[in-house]
Amino acid sequence: MKNVMVYVNPKKDFDRESRFLVKFQIDNSFQLGWKEDDILLLTNFPYEYGGIKATIVSNKNYCDFRPLSVKTITVANSKLDDCWVHDIDAFQLEPFDVDLKGYDLGCTDYGWSTKWCLGSYFYTKRAKDILEKIRDTIYEIHNEDERALVHLTSKGLFTDRIKKLNITYNMGMRNIEENYKQAEKPLRVVHFHPTRAGLFDKFKPILNDRILKLFRNYGIE
């Protein structure tokens, strides 16, 4: 399985927060045992850190009306093996090996809503057509990737090919206490902006010592 992150920006550079996040992600991934060859960073500009060289993708993957859907569009436009696809602010806490049990795509919901969340998902090669359909639907309905997926599954499309995963694979910034109760332990992925005021304090109680130490190394505590 590959560990896939995407950052496509018309400015062809990371913004201030993302510059820190991407380094943190690479360090975190190495700590969790990911090998160099398995960490895949897709960007539209050259970048290298910790031995990870970005794979350059087209600027055309950028979606000006829904920048938060760029990751899904880029995945749809790429040839990827089975992988964990995640936002650069979705942090893995523990090693995992997810078995989709024959399903082609594994996604969580929000916890506070049963609608699909695409901040952290598991992709197999067989799901390429699903991602392509989500991409096309984003442009068709002029809305985000998650809304596109909800639109498709509400019409009965792909419902037998997508596995709903436990919220442990994407603990978001809302409804933390309730989501934590529902999450399989140990917690696998937390999804938040550690530099935004108040958020790190909210997540701190559910982070493990290893990642807390790594955050400390980056001056966040």
Partner: protein
Amino acid sequence: MESSKTIIYYTSNREKPDFEERVKENILKVSMGLPIISISQKPINFGRNYCVGDVGASGFNMFRQVQIACQIATSDFIISAECDCLYPPDYFTFTPEKLDVCYRDSNLYVMPDMRDFYFSKKEGATHAQIVGRKFYLDTLNKLFDGAQKWMPEEKNFPKERWKQEDVFPHVEHYHTENPVFQIKTHKGMRYFTHSDRTPIQSIPYWGDGRKAREFYLHGRLI
């Protein structure tokens, strides 16, 4: 660490509930975990909710709701969010420098009632602003000095009381990359709003007015 911010969502619960649900869902999705205080006239499940009861829709009551929310919040800044407005992610990332100024987003549009296009509203509005919490609270405390608790008749507060058009006589503007837009319905507090009257069919982020209206107001993806 940046200054702390709280979203204050205020509503008189007059809009169609499913429209308000989509407005709230949008805020939850794009506001990156910022704390939310909702202050409503019927109980709602949204952030920390405070229900003031059915006191009526007016400018006076709206700002009274805001005043209460400012008292409850503890953050440096208050970000406004209204029940008929759609906000892009970058609306919630702007943090001003000064705590004693009202900052309004000039990238603002309004979609008139029964129409599927937008009007530009560059002067900004109360529903797209960020203000230092203490400054906002002090300003409202002065304007409400001696007033009774609720006044459904005072639609244009603080105009009737103070002959003053705006709560903040001086505002500064900022410009988010993506616009905020408000969908006017006949259920809102004010049917008319000041804006440029040139119809605009499509705006960044939200796109074609017909699609945006169908989805956010009626829940239909076309």
